[in-house]
Each structure stands twice: as C-alpha cells, then as structure tokens.
Amino acid sequence: MANQMKPNQNINEEKLSEQLQRLLSSIEASKHAVFSESNDALLNSIVTAAGRLFGAGAAAILLLNEAEQVLEFKVAYGPSEHTRKLIGTSFPMDKGIAGYVMMTGQPIATSQVKQDTRFDQDFAKSVGYVPESILATPLLSGDRIIGVMEVLDKIDATSFGMQDMEMLGMFAQQAALAIDQSQQINNIQEALILGLKRLVNSDPSQDSTEILSVLDESLDETNRTLDLLELADLFNQISALGEDERKACLQVLNVFAEYRRSTTSSRRFR
C-alpha cells in the first residue's frame, strides 16, 4: 500500500488541500459522513421500538451535558409536533423525574405525574405534552450515569409495572452501549487528528508508536475503528518517507480538522 501511495515529489500542496476540501464537501452533500457523528439513527430506533413495545404514548432518551449540568433530549418518539420541540431542549440535571433518576441511578415508575412535583410541569406545558404516567431508567456506562431513558403514558393501563421496568432496563443497556461506542469513536477521531498533527510537527526520528497505542487502547473491534487504525498507519507510513511527505500530511490533516470543525458545529444539538 505504501508503494501505491508514494507521493509525487512535485506535489502541489495547495492543490491537494483544495481537492480534499472539495472531496469532503461532496461526501457531505451526498449525506455520507466520513465519520459518523453519532449513533442517532440507532438511538432513534431503540426509542421507537421501546415506545411501540411498551404501548407508550411517547418515549425519549436524555443525555447528560456535564459542562452545563443539564439533561438534553437527544431522541424522542411520539406525536411529531411535540417530539420536534423536544429534541435539543434541556433542563437542570436534578429536576423532574429524569433528574431524579440521574441523581439516584434508580429506575422509577410513577402514575400520578400531575401531582408529582418531581415532574417539571412548566417544562412539559411549554412543549405541549403533559403525561399521566412515566417510567424512567438510567443509562449506565460502567459506574457513571450518562443519561436517562423514559417512556410516557402507558396506553390501556394507568401505570407501568415491574415487568415494564425490567424490560426498559434492557433497552437502556442497548442505548447506553450505542452512546458509549459513538463517544469512543469521537474520542478516537480527536486522538487521531491531534496525534498525527503532533507527529508531523515533532522530531523526524520519532515514530507514531505512541499514537497507535492510544488508538489501540480505546479501540473496539468494529469495522469503522479498524478503518481509523489503517488510516493512522497510512499517515504514519507517508510521513516516514521524508520531510515533504510529512508536510503534505500536515496540510491534509489541517484541512481535514478545519473541515470537521466547520461541519460539526452545525450538526451538533444545541
């Protein structure tokens, strides 16, 4: 592979970066991200499946935003006019029933939500949906609570039961795994870009063993992450060829990093 990639000594770096920018833009336009930003589609399907299976009026996954100490609605299932309003909204991590689950790590079902002061009535009214019954369970990543999954308004019953609670726990496990994996991939992307930039700027005698070991440590055996490893290896090989190649590599990475910055800011929930 290294031979195939051997760069032309007269490579026009500016031209390369322009081409790369164009290539990445066209990929974006075709809706196929180079690196998936998150597993939103998977989370959506988990929430939808849970909502239907439980016979619930609505369902949602909320994730902790640690920096702002709030819970954010990540995905939701239910009447579309309400779910649209919900996505991206947030509230303090110790408020409402989701906040209770966040603070205790314990699942709970309650059937008198309107009399329940844990439930943030004002927030519910603001999005036009005030449920009667709620079942909520934590999303756990090891010892950490990373969010809350909830189903609202059991159809044909006044409250959710123990079996519902147990089953929602299984859905929550799947959701937590998906979130974990997606965050791990994001971390790897960052490590890859930062690490390779450092490599290119560093002493030519230094190899990229350190970066690869960082990648190795956090890797799951998924196809996507294996792709990333291969990419890292490729850049390593190119940069080992000489100063010009290393410079070209740096330019490519800079363009890519800039591109990522410009696209992620518009794609993340606010």
């Binding site: 314990q106 329940d116 844990r118 950490r144 123990m162």
Partner: protein, 280 residues
C-alpha cells in the same frame, strides 16, 4: 422476539401465578408472626438507610431520624472518599426518605440513620456506596436498608467482604435486587436478605421464593411513600420493597435481641405468607 417471554425479572417470582406454597417442618412450623413481632415497635434498633439521604423533619418520620453522614467522592482523598457528619440530614431526591418512611411506618420506634451516598457526583458511585456501608458496619448499626446495588464486577470482592463483616457483626443487610435480572452486589450474596417487589399492598404480607437468589417479595408496586420537601408520592420499584422487610426485621430484632442474622432469616421465612404453618 421469541415466543418465550423475556425472562424475568426477579420480581416475576412473586406474581400471583408464580408464588408457591412452602411446607414448614418441626419447630419452624410453630413460628408465627404473632411470636415474631407482635407488639414490637422496633424500639432501640438502629437502622441505617444507605441512599440519597433522609429528610429528617418529614412529618411521616416523626422524630425517628437520629443523624447520619454524607459520603462524598473525592479522587484526591485517601481511598477516594470523604465522610462528613450530617446531624440534620436532607435528601437530594426523595428516594431515601421514601425508604425511611416505609421503615418508620412498620417499626415506629426504630432509630433511623441517614447515610447519603447518592447525589450529584458523576464518578465513584460504587466507592461511595461501599464507604457508606462500611460506616454502618463501624457504627453499631443493626439493620441496613440498601435500596441500591452495583453491577460492576470489580466491586464483587469489596462488597462481599463488607457483607461478611456485617454478618459476623450480627447485622442484617436488607437489599433491593436490581431491576434487571443480572448480577448486582451486594443484593445477591447469601448473607444478605434480598427483596423484590410484589403487587400486594398490605405491608406485613410478604413471600419467600424457594428459587433464589432473590429470596423475599414485599410490596413495591404503586406504593404511597414519603418524598422530599414534605411530600407523598405513588411509586413503583424494588427499591420500595426492601424497606418493608427492613422494618419487619427491626421489629423481630427488637423483640428477640438474642437472634442472629441467619436465625432472623429463618424467622422471616417461617412467617412468609406462602409458608404453610401450623394453625394457619
């Protein structure tokens, strides 16, 4: 999904269809709830609620809350936690107050101590929990309500050691099982009294499951409980089943202080609603 329903949930052992009548033999058949706890108020028994705190001045608690501690995670501290006294405890969510309220309603003269291990800290939850249990062991607590558990494999040994220490110090740990049918600690250790929810409402009606690990089923579905900020709520969860058994355990211990933890468990089995006793 397969035709077989998703298997269960510890609480499934206590549905009306699943409960089995159990024979009692010899002297065990003579043990009755009247003998075990009649006229007992739990007087003098020290009960710790290891949880989100207990709202000490909640009207549902009378003046049974005698103090407690807050356990905080601190990565810079020795063993990664700090313990602070908490003479007038508060509750960060309501979960602990609910458990304390149930215990107090059953054992009104038991002394309750709040051991707050749940809260805003995002890391070290299992460490806080273990430290809270350790505090109870070191402070002459007789009954500990644990409506929480950890599924982290690396804490198996630590919690097992703590559960053994408690057992050898003549303490009863009463633990709600996880809401998922998977291992959780310390709720599934044999020295612990493990509890899941059944859908009855009578606080003194509980069942024994002859197919452990979960051994007892107590009310935990649509239970009216005390909550923080002087409120009451209707809640469902194994969390609310355990304090029923903790309360009954306090009653038995107050009336029969000579009994050891394993004898207490035998008395609980003998008095379960599905045990076939003499003259029942």
């Amino acid at each position: 999904m397969s035709e077989e329903p998703l298997r269960p949930a510890w609480s499934q052992s206590f549905t009306a269809d699943a409960i089995q009548e159990l024979p009692a033999y010899g002297p065990f058949a003579k043990i009755t709830p009247e003998w075990a706890w009649k006229n007992s108020t739990g007087k003098g028994i020290r009960v710790a609620v290891v949880d989100s705190g207990v709202e000490f001045d909640h009207p549902a608690l009378g003046d049974c809350v005698r103090g407690g501690v807050v356990v905080e995670y601190d990565s810079k501290a020795k063993d990664n936690y700090r313990i602070k006294p908490d003479d007038q405890p508060m509750d960060v969510s309501g979960h602990g107050t609910a458990c304390a309220g149930i215990i107090h309603s059953i054992a009104p003269e038991a002394e309750i101590y709040s051991v707050r291990v749940l809260g805003r800290n995002m890391g070290g939850r299992a460490i806080q929990f273990a430290a809270g249990l350790d505090w109870a062991i070191e402070n002459n607590i007789q009954v500990v309500n644990l409506s929480l558990s950890t599924s982290l494999e690396e804490f198996f040994g630590l919690f097992h050691d703590l559960a053994d220490q408690a057992y050898f110090k003549n303490m009863n740990l009463v633990s709600a099982v996880n809401n998922m049918p998977e291992p959780s600690y310390p709720s599934l250790y044999s020295s612990v009294i493990s509890v899941a929810a059944h859908d009855g409402q009578d606080p003194f009606t509980y069942y024994y499951n002859p197919n452990p690990p979960v051994e007892f089923g107590a009310p935990g579905i649509d239970v009216k409980v005390a909550w923080n900020k002087k409120q009451y709520l209707t809640c469902t969860g194994n969390s609310f089943a355990a304090p029923h058994i903790a309360g009954i355990t306090a009653l038995i211990r107050a009336k029969h202080p000579e009994l050891t933890p394993f004898q207490i468990k035998s008395v609980l089995l003998a008095c379960a609603a599905n045990t076939r006793r003499e003259n029942k």
